[in-house]
């Protein structure tokens, strides 16, 4: 539990307006389906509201916010009826002005990567998203996820290894290059 801050708690509306898109995108990166995201983003901010007095304004907000998003996504994923969804529509991430063969290759590469990411345990996926996508320093990740710093480094290494192994396996299974 963080020590009480001498500053007044931040305004929920301001946090929502500033960080809604971040939470929205983070839930997707953690594998939450489009159909579930609206409910879950609401839940993230509600949970944040219930703990807003704990926030220390001298610390970056996003890692703290990520912690809420991660736990909400993880709880959601534990329910058997909820399934994660592979990110992205078939053509939405490959530039249309590139040659056709390059587009096909890029799309295949992307599909393999997303399939591998989707197989990852959500805790490992969260580390990759937080560090490699959001650029959050590992010590801040450790704070947000409430684990020792060394553990966070170790888990990040394992997550990368795990992802690389899965990419390789899926590529081989598809007869890849």
């Amino acid at each position: 539990m963080s020590p009480p801050s001498s500053r007044p708690p931040p305004d929920l509306g301001a946090i929502f307006d500033e960080h809604f898109d971040y939470v929205w995108a983070t839930l997707r990166r953690l594998g939450v389906r489009d159909a579930d995201r609206e409910d879950l983003v609401h839940e993230v901010f509600l949970k944040l509201h219930s703990r807003i007095s704990d926030y220390d304004a001298t610390r970056p907000l996003r890692p703290w916010l990520f912690g809420f998003a991660y736990r909400v996504a993880a709880d959601h994923r534990r329910l058997a009826r909820h399934r994660v969804e592979v990110l992205g529509a078939p053509d939405d991430a490959v530039a249309q002005d590139t040659p056709a063969d390059e587009r096909v290759a890029a799309r295949e590469e992307r599909d393999v990567f997303l399939a591998a990411l989707d197989e990852l345990d959500i805790a490992r996926r969260a580390l990759l998203v937080m560090h490699d996508v959001d650029g959050t320093p590992v010590p801040e990740i450790a704070e947000a996820l409430q684990v020792p710093v060394n553990t966070a480094y170790s888990r990040l290494r394992l997550a990368r290894e795990d992802l690389a192994a899965r990419v390789k396996r899926i590529r081989n299974a598809r007869g890849g290059r």
Binding site: G67, F68, E143, R160
Partner: protein, 225 residues
Amino acid sequence: MTEPMPPIDPKLVELLRGEPSAPVEIRARVRGRLMGAVAAFDAREAGGDKGASGSALAAKKATVIAFLLGGVVGSVLHAAWTKPAPERVVYVDRAVPVPLAPADATVSPPPGNPAPPVVPAAVPSGPSSGPPARASQLTAERAILDDARQALAHGDPSRALDRLEHHRRSFPSPLLAEERDAMGVQALVKAGRFDEARSRGESFRKRFPDSLFSAAVQSALESVP
């Protein structure tokens, strides 16, 4: 501490970073739900001063409301996902009891490691993917209503009423009229203007018979001595 494995291929990382923003309608809807839930929670908290029996009654009421709202939320969300978003912003208040439950995320910041605060102190300026004019109006309306809400939270109903009146004059076709009018009733009650509060509450019920702010309005009126 070293990181023996290299990061993910930057091209692939861009896939994850390229997530589009939420549609402005969804953003507004979630915000309305959130603020409605917070308002209901605050109203219950205020009602809690009446005593333990009042708290127990409020808890029972909240349970019933949450049960009923669950069905409403399902209908509203189904409608939102299966047809174009309507012009009128719909507020959903399903999570009335949720703020009472403790969240499980917290941070224990280490001492002597300060970082600049990142929470904006003033008017928000979040990006939006929706039509600029509509998004801009929403942002402007939110700013005024947030101001009013903060004034209310800090025990200054006069300022809250002033901001709400400013909103009414500024937006002849408001997107957040329901939220404004609900807050107006709460502010009038806190200002001790009980007759006006009852009158406005009645108007609110007629104008928004199915409003999910109704619980907050009703709770405020019930606190009138």
